[in-house]
């Protein structure tokens, strides 16, 4: 099982943000994107997830049976800057919805909503409306979403934003657990996540200052 990206390039507006980005992640490996603000980390993650059109290059996922999939989004979890939860609904309703909507990709085991809440350190408050939680609590439950439906690839954009120190450790452990079970992790971050043996990719921003399509 591996995730492969070859010679990726992406444009934001008119500018080429990066080009020639390639990587290959085997089962259990992690790639950490670092770089200055605006250097294109989020852009790269969204390109891999299929949320942004890519200018050049290819992304593909090959599972353990050797089948290759071009639409990597389908087998990935994406945790963006925003939490994808409705503040009107309770945490349990939110998580339940995503569990039903996302369904299960075969090959993995998932946990119940209560167990997921337990895992992110917030058991017992799943009956509160999501909007009533503090920023860090919201982030934790957004992460719990990754546990209730199995996906081999996790794409995480600054997962530990707004978390306290114990939350950082907790997330690191959950990510490590996912890797141990053979999952692949792609994360953008400004603070060290504490992942063992993760590859690092430094984004430089504006890969070329030359004129765009028009000149």
């Amino acid at each position: 099982m591996y995730l492969e990206a070859a010679n990726l390039a992406a444009r934001r507006g008119e500018e080429l943000i990066f080009e020639g980005v390639s990587f290959r992640l085997e089962s259990g490996e992690a790639l950490v994107l670092t770089g200055k603000n605006g250097s294109g980390k989020s852009t790269l993650l969204r390109v891999v997830a299929g949320l942004l059109h890519r200018e050049r290059g290819s992304v593909s996922f090959t599972d353990s049976h050797g089948n290759t999939l071009r639409r990597v989004g389908e087998i990935s979890h994406y945790l963006g800057h925003r939490n994808a939860m409705k503040s009107e609904l309770t945490v349990a309703e939110n998580l339940d919805f995503w569990r039903c909507f996302l369904g299960d990709t075969q090959g993995g085991s998932t946990v119940s909503i209560d167990e997921a809440a337990e895992a992110v350190g917030l058991a017992g408050i799943t009956q509160l409306p999501f909007g009533y939680l503090s920023a860090g609590q919201q982030r934790r439950f957004a992460f719990a979403k990754l546990l209730i439906a199995y996906r081999p690839v996790w794409i995480l954009d600054e997962p530990t934003a707004a978390l306290d120190a114990s939350g950082d450790r907790l997330f690191a452990e959950l990510i490590e657990a996912h890797r141990r079970k053979g999952g692949i992790v792609l994360a953008a971050t400004h603070q060290p996540l504490g992942l063992e043996g993760a590859q690092e990719l430094r984004m430089a921003g504006f890969s070329h200052t030359g004129p765009g399509v028009w000149a």
Partner: protein, 255 residues
């Protein structure tokens, strides 16, 4: 003093939910008895007094219609007073009072509307006309329903109470419109003949049952209002205790 919340201690004994519950338990039976008595006398009077030479038997509808219409307006007035209590003193019992009055007010408004149209059919030949009095009562009904819906849509009760309080106060403009619509717009509906400055202009023959029924309806309203307030306080206690239980449970699970 079992209660120590600062917001509460400022107020008189009645203001304390626990005191209120004790008081309610004591007076509800008396009020219920009084209501029943008034209704017995009122209904007896309404069906034994003579009919009007012009309106015939239908004048008897007046004995329900008019008290119901008065209470529809009074219910809203009570809500407005509670709303002031909510906004000015942030008083929890005022929240409860406004919330409990809404369904009751809506019920009495509905009675006034339906008995009014039942009266309108023989008198005016139509169930419904869009005249100012009728429409403004209809709008009162809609406002009651809207406020009930609003209260349900916000799940933090004290916030819900404060928000509805603002709307209740703004909506109060409708009450004078109802009251004076018949004078401002010359319409089909009767103008005031009981509640007017120069004394009632109505035959005592009709006035007696009308007043007894009015007292009966008012007593019913207040009985139900106090009962509904008590229910609401209980409801909030239950939720508070449930939440506390959940909190304690999660705390024990997570040292």
């Amino acid at each position: 003093m079992s209660e120590t919340s600062l917001a509460i201690t400022k107020f008189s004994d009645l203001a304390n939910p626990t005191r209120f519950l004790a008081l309610a338990a004591r007076i509800i039976p008396w009020m219920a008895g009084f209501t029943a008595l008034c209704f017995i006398v009122g209904l007896y009077l309404s069906f034994t007094t003579e009919g009007d030479y012009q309106q015939g038997e239908t004048v008897r509808i007046m004995y329900v219609h008019v008290p119901a219409a008065w209470l529809a307006m009074m219910g809203y007035t009570i809500m407005s007073l509670s709303a002031i209590g909510t906004l000015v003193w942030r008083h929890p019992l005022a929240d409860v009072s406004a919330k409990a009055a809404a369904p009751l007010g809506a019920a009495f408004t509905l009675i006034a509307l339906v008995t009014g149209s039942l009266w309108g059919k023989p008198m005016w030949g139509t169930w419904w006309v869009w005249d100012a009095r009728l429409t403004s009562v209809f709008i009162l009904f809609l406002m009651y329903l809207g406020l009930i819906a609003l209260n349900r849509a916000i799940d933090d009760p004290s916030k819900a109470a404060r928000v509805s309080a603002v709307l209740i106060l703004v909506g109060f403009v409708n009450i004078p419109i109802i009251k004076f619509s018949v004078e401002w717009w010359n319409t089909l509906h009767q103008s005031a003949s009981v509640l007017r400055l120069d004394g009632p202009a109505i035959d005592p023959e009709f006035l007696r049952p009308l007043l007894v029924m009015a007292v009966a309806f008012t007593a019913l309203f207040f009985t139900l209002h106090i009962m509904a307030m008590r229910n609401e306080i209980w409801r909030r206690r239950v939720t508070a205790q449930r939440r506390m239980a959940a909190r304690l449970a999660s705390r024990e699970g997570q040292p």
